[in-house]
């Protein structure tokens, strides 16, 4: 559905997007993840035919975004960041106008506008002025606009930014349902959102794609696959630490003392789980144990590692 090759965008001397390439297949929900200013919005603007790329190419459903821009635009539903809308129009009026602009006419327009208003729960505000809507409703009007012409591809730039937790859940639900019929590319910096909705994640930083995979695989690929935390009462913490380091699978150990208990944070080799061995060690040394737990790697850790390798 999306084919991007060596896409680059420079503003003056600044390279916002630096030769990225990726493919998105039909029916995928792909999350674009990255810190502010990483090039997410610029990439999406290029894909939605708003900004012309400096170099490289991008194709939407086989149509080049630059050479065949109108054909490509007919297949895209784009929701820009912060959802700019005409404040002087009423909701149904706006959606009808947008449908007409996108070539939806006559009876089909009436059907489509009704459908998207139902889908985005806009029926109770259809006669309100867009300018008087709350943030959550505006977001939904933007989403309704993006899909009013039944595009193959939805490009959503930060669809949940500025919403309250309930609204975020509703929008997320909506996106997941839309994923059954559309290909979706969305950007966000809310990590749980990506884990919950997307089949694939692309982490973009300083204009480059640093990692692209399913969320599970990304987590598995992280160098340390999580930490094990153990709190013991041992006669000699230094000796205990040395013993723990000898357990197969334990890469590092950091210890602190907390009211007489030794607290160890152990770095674990990816794909292993040495907790049983650690327990056995503690039993054989007759240490008292008050905690033995494993912290799982979240996408947040992957994100932090990929975008700030030195920290």
């Amino acid at each position: 559905m999306i084919k991007v090759e060596n896409l680059t965008k420079r503003y003056g001397g600044v390279t916002a997007v630096d030769g990225i390439s990726f493919h998105v297949g039909k029916g995928e929900i792909v999350g674009f993840l990255g810190p502010n200013g990483a090039g997410k919005s610029t990439t999406m603007r290029m894909l939605s035919c708003y900004l012309p790329p400096t170099s490289g190419r991008a194709e939407i459903a086989g149509f080049d975004v630059f050479r065949n821009s109108l054909k490509a635009r007919e297949r895209i539903g784009y929701m820009p960041e912060n959802v700019p809308l005409y404040n002087d129009m009423r909701v149904f009026e706006y959606l009808k106008y947008r449908a007409a602009l996108k070539g939806v006419r006559g009876r089909r327009m009436k059907e489509r506008v009704g459908d998207v208003m139902d889908l985005c729960a806009l029926r109770d505000v259809e006669r309100k002025l867009v300018g008087n809507l709350s943030k959550g409703y505006r977001q939904r009007v933007g989403l309704a606009d993006a899909m009013v012409h039944e595009p193959d591809l939805l490009i959503l730039d930060e669809p949940t930014i500025g919403l309250d937790p309930n609204q975020i859940r509703q929008v997320r639900e909506l996106i997941r349902n839309l994923g059954r019929h559309h290909t979706i590319l969305l950007s966000t910096h809310i990590l749980p959102e990506v884990e919950m909705t997307c089949s694939r994640v692309m982490i973009i930083n300083r204009g480059r794609i640093e990692a692209a995979d399913a969320p599970e695989n990304l987590r598995a690929r992280l160098r340390t696959a999580g930490d094990v935390r153990i709190e013991v009462r041992a006669p000699d913490l230094e000796k205990a630490k040395a013993a723990l380091l000898e357990v197969p699978g334990v890469l590092s150990a950091a210890s602190t003392e907390e009211d007489g208990w030794g607290v160890f944070a152990l770095g674990i080799e990816a794909g292993t789980d040495p907790r049983e061995a650690i327990w056995n060690l503690a039993v054989s040394r007759r240490w008292a144990v008050r905690e033995l737990s494993r912290t799982r790697v979240t996408l947040e850790d992957v994100f932090a590692e990929v975008t700030h390798p030195d920290e």
């Binding site: 503003y11 602009l101 006419r105």
Partner: protein, 251 residues
């Protein structure tokens, strides 16, 4: 074509949805009405050889009221879309840049026409009340209103260009007002400095809207100003199109 019509009708609707439009219409009507009263009053006091039409389109009140609305009509067109960011959903819809530009420009032309249409009523009322002719022939009406449209097309294009240059409506209004004033008062140049060379005097007269209007409101038709205004309009619209596209390459 249908998409153009969708865009155009929305742009026109925006005019008539905003209270500013009615304020402009109201004060414009007041000014043109006063101008008409002023003309008749003056003609009553001292008989002259000119027709009502000729006199009406040549007073200082007419020209003052004529120049004022252009920045107000056009400042919103592009600047507001940039400011609100609505240019992004607009230009990612499958519409051509030129459709957007022409829809915006022609909606301004439409509003401009709406501004001047009521002035025709003055002459209707005049003829009905006095049983006199406001003009010696239909050509005077045709000429005066054709010139009104021609200059309007050009000045609206300038306003359009100014609006495409910035995201700030006030700045757009100032740019277009400065540009239009410069072109308009150029015609006064030879009158302010009576000793200029004949060449300069000819040049300023050739470019002076006041001269053009004086000619056309007598019912005299000259192709030179027609070509001048139409070609200048085309040039400025072309520039506007370039600016409009360039902003996306840059931003």
């Amino acid at each position: 074509m249908r998409k153009f019509f969708t865009l155009w009708s929305r742009e026109i609707a925006v005019y008539f949805r905003s209270p500013a439009a009615y304020v402009i219409l109201f004060f414009f009507l007041l000014l043109t009405g006063f101008n008409f009263w002023f003309v008749l009053n003056a003609m009553n006091r001292s008989p002259s050889g000119v027709s009502v039409i000729e006199a009406y389109f040549n007073t200082v009140f007419f020209w003052f009221g004529f120049v004022l609305p252009f920045p107000l009509i056009t400042m919103r067109l592009f600047a507001e879309e940039y400011k609100l960011g609505t240019i992004e959903p607009l230009m990612t819809a499958p519409v051509r840049d030129v459709q957007v530009l022409l829809a915006k420009y022609l909606s301004a032309v439409f509003f401009y026409a709406m501004l001047w249409l009521p002035s025709l009523l003055y002459f209707v009322v005049f003829q009905w009340q006095t049983r006199l002719q406001a003009a010696p022939a239909a050509g005077s009406y045709l000429g005066a209103y054709a010139m009104l449209l021609l200059i309007g097309l050009f000045y609206l294009a300038i306003g359009c260009l100014a609006s495409a240059l910035t995201r700030n409506q006030v700045v757009a209004a100032i740019i277009s007002f400065a540009g239009i004033s410069l072109l308009f008062y150029w015609g006064f140049y030879s009158r302010l400095f009576p000793n200029v060379s004949p060449f300069l005097r000819d040049l300023t007269d050739y470019l002076s809207p006041i001269q053009h209007m004086a000619l056309f409101s007598q019912g005299l038709f000259d192709t030179r100003p027609v070509v001048l205004y139409l070609s200048c309009t085309a040039l400025v619209l072309f520039l506007t199109f370039q600016v409009f596209q360039y902003r996306r390459w840059k931003v």
